[in-house]
Amino acid sequence: MSAGATAARETGARLAAADAAGLNATLHWSQELLDAEGARVDAMGRPGPLAALPIAIKDNIVTTEQPTTCGSRILEGYLSPYDATAVRRLRAAGALIACKANMDEFAMGSSTEHSAFGRVKHPIDPTRVPGGSSGGSAALVAAGVVPAALGSETGGSVRQPASFCGVVGVKPSYGRVSRYGLVAFGSSLDCISAFGRTVDEAARVLSAMSGHDPLDATTIDHPPVAAPAPLPDLKGLRIGLPREYFPADLHPGVAAALQRTEDAIRQLGAELCDVSLPHSRYAVPTYYIVAPAEAAANLARYDGVRYGPRKVGPGGDIRALYQATRGEGFGAEVRRRILVGTYVLSAGYYDAYYRKAQRVRALIADDFRRAFASGVDLLLTPTTPTPAFRAGEKTEDPVAMYLADIFVCAISLAGLPALSLPVGLTEGLPVGAQLIAPFFEDERLLAAAAALERVVAATAEVGG
């Protein structure tokens, strides 16, 4: 049996087992589609750089063969009539589309509890969350169901679940991977991003799908991300530790894992230094103005006129159709964010909120620019302030949930490449360290992470 067919059969078996175990990480897959993917890959003249690599696709990236629901009732059963550019490129590189992965509805959430199709369980501890919003993709990689997966980032939605689940999650520079076919949430922030068991796997996926796309005016005309040349050490690199990202109340296990990572970096010959990113403390509030404002407009198209399930409310007119379709189709968190986004753009409030947030965003980005200009090659921070939290712990307080993204948000606002690398366990739960690179230095980021990955004991308990 050839590679594609074998991968299809084995992946199907693992997906079935994961579903049976109640991980709830997939939304759509079938053995039939997998087999067809395997056959397609086997029929390819040349196997391609991702030959027979099964990849899970977050359900906000459109595919013509499986439904794309974004974890929402409002797109239940929706079959896209076109494929996302990233999906086309992965398939052309020989990858198999394994399944569509569960997610927070429209990528709004940090725990994958806001899926209309049920929460995703943490692969290590089912009472905990896998992080979000790309929790399904992260859990599938962490559970060994697929070696790699696509997620999407708006404000940390790949790095944060990668950290919680103990896998590698890479967010490329904004504009490096086409958003064509990624269902828009916050368009100035959205990035299709990659999960892998290793830096190399994530990098190969990124490499295959990155590069300019004439269908996305925000992609930058720049060659695709090159698969990183392996570095023997990190000699000559200066790695900055932004002090705002190491608060006194940081979870002790996270602090210990980061300490150990710093030691590993020193052993590899890099120099560590303190830097300051003073405006990063405003990243979460800035994000929660910019992203909902963009989302409120981006989600206006779900109106029950052209696609998706339609509901008609009392009165039976077009307004009743809109209000019922949207009122019933969107879940609570999505509705909250649409309302916030509409509010901050509405007459009389634009300057106080949206314009202000745009200015603070510029300040946040400028902090990073200045840090890198001062001779720092990369930045190191914890990915999350705590390991995976318990399901239900933050669902009642939206702001508490938003703060789970406190270390990842600023990077999204600045459009920078960053990744989360597993660097240890605390009480059995993974801890991730975040590396951040200057704009379009994705290759530097991946090369350094691959070197660090070889020496850091990702599966060793740090205590704390």
């Binding site: 079959l79 100035s188 029950g304 006129v305 307004r319 949207r326 909250r336 509409t342 510029a362």
Partner: protein, 99 residues
């Protein structure tokens, strides 16, 4: 409280979202929590750069005016909730009859 019930209802109307009476109070409370939280940006001094930050290219690349093939693997009829004779259908609306 920064946002009152009427304001939430007004915003919901702009966003065409039905809000059930039973969930309104809770929504008002949550939105206030969020809006009060983001209001901490007021602490940032006003000398921030005037130009907004752009994460992507500094200027938009244009497309040549050349027709492309219809890139739909399935036609509108296949995904429309109501479709007849080539048209999407919606309930007839009073104001629209005037137009």
């Amino acid at each position: 409280m920064t946002i009152g019930r009427d304001q939430v209802l007004h915003v919901a109307k702009l966003a065409e979202l039905a809000v059930r009476e039973g969930e309104l109070d809770r929504l008002v409370e949550q939105l206030n929590r969020i809006v009060d939280y983001v209001a901490q940006l007021d602490e940032v001094p006003g000398d921030a750069p005037a130009d907004p930050f752009l994460p992507g290219p500094p200027s938009v690349a244009l497309r040549q005016d050349v027709p492309g093939p219809v890139p739909l693997t399935r036609p509108p009829a296949a995904f429309a909730p109501e479709f007849a004779d080539g048209f999407f259908l919606v309930p007839r609306h009073g104001a629209m009859e005037d137009l």
